[in-house]
């Protein structure tokens, strides 16, 4: 189920990304995939801004304004 389009604050800095895959592990909404050692945002509108990816990104390549769940 997808919610309102084009509103989420999630941003990924691909240049910084080291492809560790933590974002894909912690995301419960299948937003990310890892290809060629880089994370990719596959489904931006599925993001619920929980903040798990940004919290666990080791090099702060992800930005999101999290809600309180």
């Amino acid at each position: 189920m997808e919610y309102i389009k084009n509103v989420v604050t999630l941003k990924l800095d691909k240049d910084k990304c080291v492809g560790c895959g933590m974002c894909a592990i912690v995301c419960a909404r299948e937003v990310f995939s890892i290809e060629d050692r880089k994370a990719n945002i596959d489904f931006l509108d599925k993001c619920i801004e929980c903040g798990a990816c940004a919290m666990n990104c080791p090099i702060d390549a992800i930005e999101v304004v999290p809600g309180v769940g």
């Binding site: 919610y3 309102i4 604050t9 592990i25 919290m55 666990n56 769940g69």
Partner: protein, 367 residues
Amino acid sequence: MSQLRKHKYIPPHTTDPKNVESLEHIFDGEIETEIGPVKRISTRIFPNDKLGSIAVRFGIKRDSYKVAPGIYAIGNPNDTSPMLVTCNYKLTFDAVRQSLSGLDAWLLVINTGGVNVWCAAGKGSFGGDEIIYRVRKTGAAKIVKSKLMMLPQLGAPGVNSKKVEKYTGFKVVFGPVRALDIKEFLAKGLKADKHMRTATFKFQERLVLTPVEFVQNAKFIGYSLLMFIVLNYIGNDAESLTGYLRLSLLNTIPYALAVAAAAFGFPLLLPVLPFRSFSAKGIVLGVIFSALIATKISVFAYADNVPTLLGNSLIMTSTIAFISLNFTGSSNVTSLSGVQKETMLYAPIFAVGALLGFCLLFFGRLI
């Protein structure tokens, strides 16, 4: 995002709850360890637990459904047994211990104030700080020789796993979303399939949320009764007090049904209702509901005029849609940005709709 305090950690909940007597049945013994006796937890769900869970689903004693934080044993943990971490909400705690039957493990229960993992993670109380504090306080590192800590994946919004590793000396892995996948996750060597990593919002998962939705919104039924008691006083031609009260009660029944439609119908119909915003979905449900009621106005003793029909439809639709908008907070598919956007747009519309509806009902009493 919570920042780890480097020196002294002040727990978010200054007093830890104690295990109440009604919890005693879940402990089946103690095991001796270097840090003293550790209580062993049964993986069985007893009739008591089921009754408690049902009550909590109706919002009864929900805030006091807590387990004392600390370290517990499951089975007979040995040097290779992992330590699982969970919150101290009894409903979650029961799901976790039930899914661990036949396993040997340690279970670290942290203090989230009796709130489930995902909600607590969003608010920071299921957080790295609390985990580090709890590991230190319990002396868990002394007895968990494997130094393997498994966190529920839904705790990730509140836990920076690298920081927890740094300050506890444990290796941290994020386990599956659902407790019932824990065994499979462990059996596969800490590997999660896609389904274990994905939160769902299936029919059954939405269904269990409906009783609390109804209880929390039942106040709207009271407001409507009050409204009809006031409105029906205008030009009151009922012969007796009982007639007047009977009319007001009859008028209120569709409003009670409207709250039920919003509390039960909306969550269950969520995926099939058109539009993306919960408000727009709620309006659709409200209009359908009002149309159904409009075919039965004599049953509920409504005056047969246009202002009354429109007034009732407007208030009921606004109420249903408002409760639907509120359901964003109970769902796991909405983003804060989206909720803010639809609230700004629709909340004023619902307020104006309800007020306009009241004016129409008032006018309907005069003609």
